[in-house]
Each structure stands twice: as structure tokens, then as C-alpha cells.
């Protein structure tokens, strides 16, 4: 219909959004800064902790703070500070691996479901429903219990298995909206094949909400890994992770509360900054969900 009738919304929408200014908003800049710091710690923990986390002396078992060892020592007599710092790596690795895996699955399945609809969409959607109806934690515990080798890769895979549907569902609904837009129809009308239409048009225009949720997801997955490890079905002792430290601290936290305090402090700050970043990004890209 003739759009010559101007709407006030149109006047407002015509204001171009300056993406560069995003970094100046404290809601985004502060959590982003923390996230970057955490990434640096995870990448080169040696820069921040000079003591070998595996150089332990049982004589120091459970000792509190002393000079050079700001967090004190754990039950095995290892330096807690360097353990916490080195633990960042596995936690963050799992967080990113799982999220990246989920995003990848979501992009492919979400776009495919939205593009083909019909039977393809039905199969994908019902599969997601099955996973939604299943208690994820129970499933993860059961599967991990049957596995003997539980390293970062295995734990990540099990987490992905139960986490992909949430993001796929989001991607599917975003892609469904995009597929109906005229420019997608235009590309099909030009004779473009499915790969081109999805890769060039549908995906880039449905990606924004996923980006925000992905940041939320990293936080969630770090928590999930710690929870599983704490329950004794996640990573195991030679691996260094916050979950492993919390697991070991649970028996002795009355006598040595610092063993519980420092890993959980790091865990909370990390998760919080990812979640805050995700929230801020989501509000920016999709103001309706606020």
C-alpha cells in the first residue's frame, strides 16, 4: 500500500545507528573488559601466576595466605592462586567449545529448517522438543558416568548434546522471519540455489540474536561444567579446573573456607561478565526482548 503517509516511527527509524559507539556504553564496555581479561588469563596463565600449579608440598596442606601465595594452599599443598589462574583455561575452553558447537549446529539446522520447512522442519523441531522434554542434568550425569575418559573434549561433547536445541530454536525462528522477506524471495526468483540463498541472505540477516545468546551461553556452559565436575562426573583430578577445585574443597570447607571461596569467586565473576555482556548485546540487537 502507498507508504507516502509518513509515520513517526519511520522518522525515528531513519536515524542511523552508529555501531562504533557501542563500546562507549558502560553496560557493554565493563563486562567486555572483564571478558577480555579472562580470555588473556586463559590464554597465557603463566603471565599471571609464576608458581607451577602442580608443584605441591603436602607440608603446606590447607595453609592460609602467606607472602607469595595470596590465596594460600589447597589440601594437596599446591598453590591455590596458580591453580585458580590455570583453572581458567579449562573452564573457558569448555565454555567456548560448547557454545561454538551449539552455534554451529544452530546456524545449520535453524536455517535448513526455516528454508525447507515441511518435513525437514518437522523432523528438526520434534527432535528439539524431545531434548527439551528431557531433564538435561540427569542425562548428562548418566552419560558421563558410563564414560571413563572424561577430558575437556568429552565433557564439551556431552554438554553440546543437551544444549544445542535452545539455540537452534532461536535461530530457526529468526531465520523463519528472514526467509519470508522480499529480498530472499528476490534471490530465489533470480534462480539462486539453496546454499547461496542461505549463506548470502538468510544467515547474515538472522545472526544478530544468536550472537547475544552465545555470550550468555558461554557463562551458562562454564557453570554447567563446574556443576558436573562438582558432582564428580565432569573433569577429573589431573585436569585443573574450578569445578575440580570446588569438588575437592567440599569435604574440608569448614576448616579451610578459602578453598571454596577463591574458585567460586572467579567462577561467579566470569559467568556474571559473560551474562551481562550477553544481556547488553541482546538489548542492543533486539530491543523488543527487553
Amino acid at each position: 500500500m502507498p507508504a507516502a503517509g509518513e509515520s513517526i516511527e519511520a522518522v525515528v527509524a531513519a536515524v542511523p545507528r552508529d555501531r562504533r559507539r557501542l563500546l562507549r556504553r558502560p553496560r557493554i564496555a565493563i563486562p567486555l573488559g572483564v571478558v577480555v581479561l579472562i580470555l588473556v588469563v586463559a590464554a597465557v596463565p603463566g603471565l599471571f601466576a609464576h608458581t607451577d600449579p602442580r608443584a605441591c608440598d603436602l607440608g603446606n596442606s590447607g595453609t592460609g595466605m602467606v607472602a607469595g601465595h595470596p590465596f594460600g594452599f589447597d589440601i594437596q599443598g599446591c598453590d591455590l592462586y596458580s591453580n585458580v589462574v590455570y583453572g581458567t583455561r579449562s573452564s573457558v575452553t569448555i565454555g567456548f567449545t560448547v557454545t561454538a558447537g551449539c552455534v554451529l549446529i544452530a546456524l545449520v539446522l535453524g536455517c535448513v529448517a526455516a528454508y525447507y520447512r515441511g518435513v525437514v522442519d518437522a523432523v528438526i523441531s520434534r527432535t528439539m522438543d524431545i531434548f527439551f522434554g528431557f531433564p538435561a542434568l540427569v542425562g548428562q550425569v548418566v552419560i558421563l558416568n558410563t564414560l571413563h575418559q572424561r577430558n575437556v573434549v568429552v565433557v564439551s561433547a556431552v554438554l553440546i548434546l543437551f544444549a544445542w536445541p535452545a539455540m537452534t530454536r532461536l535461530m530457526r525462528s529468526a531465520a523463519l522471519a528472514t526467509v519470508d522477506l522480499d529480498f530472499v524471495k528476490a534471490a530465489r526468483g533470480l534462480g539462486a540455489g539453496p546454499v547461496r540463498v542461505i549463506a548470502r541472505h538468510v544467515l547474515p540477516n538472522s545472526f544478530a540474536p544468536i550472537l547475544a545468546v552465545a555470550s550468555l551461553g558461554v557463562g551458562g556452559m562454564i557453570t554447567a561444567e563446574s556443576a558436573l565436575t562438582f558432582l564428580g562426573v565432569g573433569l577429573r583430578a589431573p585436569s585443573i579446573s574450578w569445578g575440580v577445585q570446588l569438588n575437592q574443597a567440599q569435604d574440608s570447607f569448614r576448616e579451610h573456607p578459602h578453598l571454596l571461596l577463591f574458585p567460586s569467586l572467579f567462577l561467579s565473576v566470569t559467568v556474571l561478565s559473560f551474562v551481562m555482556l550477553g544481556d547488553a548485546l541482546r538489548d542492543t540487537f533486539d530491543p523488543r526482548s527487553r
Binding site: 500500500m1 502507498p2 507508504a3 507516502a4 542511523p16 522477506l181 522480499d182 529480498f183 524471495k185 528476490a186 534471490a187 530465489r188 526468483g189 533470480l190 534462480g191 539462486a192 540455489g193 547461496r196 548470502r200 541472505h201 547474515p204 540477516n205
Partner: protein, 333 residues
């Protein structure tokens, strides 16, 4: 004159709703349309919302498959083709979309948008020449090729519609289907686009199917006109004749209802104001679909479905076609 596009008995039905919801059934969006388009001419199709004119556009360009009937492009049947052959055939018939705001990918530069058809059909223009061809196309539609790196949102509606036209022309089509190409534009730029389309037709010899609800624009641009109501052509013919002497009551009512920018028509009471609104597409009236709003309807209209009857240069689907010339200024918009 060669026929470039021919549709015969084309139907398209949609299933609406589910058995569980209250409203469900089958909608005959396009219900037996025959049309013929000769090279270099413009066929205008007018109709109100729900008349099936947009569905017809999608059928003609092969984006939808007809439920029945044939569509032939340059003598080849479109809907029996699949895959690669269909894609090849689509080069010859292109669609200009209604809304220049949604029909361009917001993340692609206008150069990339116009270039895309050339990448989808690499045989048309060798890779090395594509940049030059894109520049030529932009120039042809009145845009500055230096702006090809800009994004769609940096352009106004009229300029975006020019980009859409350039994209449609990239594959050197024989037929352009324009689905309401100016109705989303500001009044002051509509004329620019109408003139551009006419200019391009003169220069390139393309045939147009020009679909619109704006009677005046169709009158201006079309050589022949078809009037659509509920998925069918109710009248078809030479555009001057249809506008001057409408024979179907619906055509006459449509022309009478169109507001005329002419003060002298003001104090004359409108000749015909149709009562009621188009009936539900889920439950169209029996016989002639227009009979519930028609002031000439008789019993026969409820039982017999009027066929499109051809005489010299026109055709009308009515049991009681109007024959006397129309008085007054209702046609002169």
C-alpha cells in the same frame, strides 16, 4: 508480434488454516487465468487486495507452481522444468518487487545486489566484465555508479526501486513482471519510476506485466488491461477501450470509485458506490463471484458461472455486460 509469455487455465489453490482452527478450507487464489503477452507490449493487471494478482505474478516468474494449467515462456513450459533448466529459463522473466525497503538485502552494497544475478548465472557475463556491466546497469536506471559501494539504507525509496529494476534487468530478460512497482513510493517520485520503465521498454524492447491497484498508473502505462476479481479475469481488452467503455459492472464500479484529482467532478454524486466488501475468499459466492455486490445481478448469476467471452479486441465475463459508452468523467483520472 510474437508471443513471449502465455498462460492457459492457470490455477493456484492454497490450503488455509488447520482442521482444528475454526477457519480453514481451500482458497482459489488464481482460478483459471489465460493470458498472452506479446514482445514489447505492456499488459496491465488491476485488482483489489485478495484478487490474486500478486499470486499470479509469482506464478508467472516461476516462484510458485500452478496447481493446474500451463505457463509458457518463449514457447517452453515453465512448470515442467526443474533444477538447472528452470533456473536457466528464469533468466528471461524477472520480477520487480513492490516494496523497495524489504526487497533489497540490507547487508549488501547496491553494487553487490545488482551483481548477484550475474554470479548466479555466470554464463551471461564473463567474470572480468561484470563490474563494468553493473556500472552500466546502474547508469541505465539513473543511479551514479560511483555509489555502488553504498548500502540500501543510504538511499531513498525511489532510488532503491531503481536498484531493484537494475537487478531485474541484469540478466537481460525478455519479460519484466512489475508487482505494484510504484505503490510504496512517494507521490513525487512515482512519475520518475513510471517514466523510467517506459524509457527502458522503448530502449530494450522488454514486455511488461504491470500489476497495480492504482488505476491511473495502469491506464498510463498499459497497452492492454485485465481486471481481476477473486482470482479470475472479469474483463480484458485494449486499455483505452476498457477505461472508456468498461463492460463488466465491476470494472465500471472500480473506475467510478477511484478518486479523481479534478475539482469539477466533486459535486457530481458518484455514479456507483459499491455496497459491501469483497466476500471471504474461503467462501466465494456461487456462480459469478461479483454478484453479491452487483446492481445488475439476477437469478442466473447465482447459478451460471459466466465465462470470459471474447469479441474483437476485448473480453468480458458477465451475463449482462454493459454496452453503452460511459458518460462523464469517471474514466478520466
Amino acid at each position: 508480434m510474437t508471443t513471449v509469455l502465455r498462460a492457459s487455465g492457470v490455477r493456484r489453490t492454497y490450503r488455509i488454516g488447520s482442521l482444528l482452527s475454526g477457519r480453514h478450507g481451500i482458497v482459489h487464489a488464481v482460478d483459471g487465468v489465460d493470458l498472452e503477452l506479446h514482445s514489447g507490449e505492456t499488459l496491465g493487471i488491476v485488482g483489489e487486495s485478495g484478487s490474486g494478482k500478486s499470486t499470479l505474478a509469482q506464478l508467472l516468474v516461476g516462484m510458485e507452481r500452478p496447481s493446474a494449467g500451463r505457463i509458457e515462456l518463449l514457447g517452453e513450459s515453465l512448470h515442467t522444468m526443474r533444477g538447472r533448466r528452470l533456473r536457466r529459463a528464469r533468466r528471461d522473466i524477472q520480477l520487480v518487487h513492490q516494496d523497495p525497503y524489504t526487497s533489497l538485502d540490507p547487508r549488501m552494497t547496491i553494487g553487490a545486489i545488482v551483481r548477484e544475478p550475474l554470479e548466479i548465472h555466470p554464463a551471461v557475463v564473463p567474470r572480468g566484465d561484470r563490474t563494468k556491466v553493473v556500472a552500466e546497469l546502474l547508469e541505465m536506471v539513473g543511479l551514479n555508479p560511483d555509489q555502488s559501494e553504498r548500502l540500501p539504507h543510504q538511499f531513498s525509496g525511489g532510488q532503491r526501486q531503481r536498484v531493484g529494476i537494475a537487478r531485474a534487468l541484469a540478466l537481460r530478460p525478455k519479460v519484466l513482471v512489475c508487482d505494484e512497482p510504484v505503490s510504496a513510493l512517494d507521490v513525487s517520485v512515482q512519475a520518475q519510476i513510471v517514466n523510467l520503465l517506459e524509457q527502458l521498454q522503448r530502449d530494450l524492447g522488454i514486455a511488461y506485466v504491470f500489476i497495480a491497484h492504482d488505476l491511473a498508473v495502469v491506464q498510463h502505462i498499459a497497452d492492454r488491461v485485465a481486471v481481476m476479481y477473486f482470482g479470475r479475469f472479469v474483463e480484458e481488452g485494449d486499455s483505452v477501450q476498457v477505461y472508456d467503455q468498461p463492460r463488466h459492472p465491476y470494472t465500471k464500479a472500480l473506475l467510478a470509485a477511484a478518486p479523481v484529482p479534478d475539482r469539477s467532478a466533486r459535486h457530481r454524486p458518484p455514479e456507483i458506490v459499491l455496497r459491501g466488501e469483497p466476500p471471504s475468499p474461503l467462501d466465494p459466492p456461487s456462480g459469478c463471484h461479483f454478484r453479491t455486490r452487483c446492481w445488475l445481478a439476477e437469478d442466473r448469476c447465482a447459478t451460471d458461472d459466466p465465462a470470459l467471452v471474447h469479441s474483437d479486441s476485448s473480453a468480458v465475463a458477465c451475463h449482462f455486460p454493459l454496452d453503452e459508452p460511459l458518460q462523464g468523467a469517471t474514466h478520466a483520472r
